[in-house]
Symmetry: C2
Subunit: 162 residues, 2 copies
């Protein structure tokens, strides 16, 4: 089963950590099928050398995610149906304070956007995480930074910095 | 590759052919994800002992169909996201005049509906097919008899018989 309950926090980056380019990374390209309703997301993803169809649905604790492997040929046949709702990024995995941070450096129309995601085993662990200095504003649960929103609406307008 | 161009004709049944119950049959249950746009269909299907996610998109000659096997667990996890857009039927395969007719006998809210589909290798073959006497009105391409429409809108109202 690939279904699991995710506890994660997400941040914007102030700057990239030292030596970031030397960490393990993978290119990710994803497209979103046009679905009706906010509770459903159907995503086609090319990650490294593999291809997936991912369906996310529900809300909160009842949210579930199913990742289904597809062939390269299936990916190519289905890609046109995602229209222009695309995201391209390179994901770096960086160890930090006992956790693995997934740093996404966006490309194309989203160039300039850099985010970090950290996954936790428990709510308690999630609350006790102290972000390093290079992490900026927390955007956990902020809808306009969700990848589907970024794919459809592009880069959110920057809030004025204080 | 499971992608192919379909040439098929579809009919309502006047009555079931003799000995229909003795032909090979399989129960089919399918649910439809809520998608935006008429050109896309994302279907979850339980056919016999197997499970599939099928994505159909495009129109006419550019229509493509990808059938992706999923596990029973994935089927169960995804089923709730198809809401109430469901179809249940039993499909009988009946040989007839050199072709295999797929006879669908619908269940539940669609009880009473019986359709037949025949697939052809060419347009020419499709035109020369002579339907047997137990086939009634041709419904090839009639949208309200498409399974997704039946799932969402139920049984079409019967046109008055002449």
């Amino acid at each position: 089963m690939t279904q699991h309950q995710e506890i994660e926090r997400k941040f914007l980056l102030k700057w990239l950590p030292k030596d970031w380019k030397h960490h393990r990374s993978m290119r990710i390209i994803q497209g979103y099928f046009p679905v009706a309703g906010k509770e459903l997301e159907i995503r086609l993803r090319h990650k490294g050398a593999r291809y997936f169809l991912t369906i996310k649905g529900g809300q909160g604790r009842r949210r579930s995610e199913e990742e289904i492997p597809v062939s390269a040929a299936q990916f190519r046949a289905l890609w046109p149906f995602t229209g222009r709702a695309h995201v391209a990024k390179r994901r770096y995995e960086i160890a930090c304070r006992g956790h693995t941070l997934e740093i996404d450096v966006y490309e194309g129309p989203l160039h300039g956007l850099k985010t970090a995601e950290v996954e936790f085993d428990s709510e308690r662990e999630s609350h006790s995480f102290q972000p390093p200095s290079w992490l900026g504003r927390e955007i956990t649960g902020v809808r306009r930074y969700a990848n589907q929103q970024l794919a459809r609406r592009g880069l959110p307008r920057r809030r004025p910095q204080k």
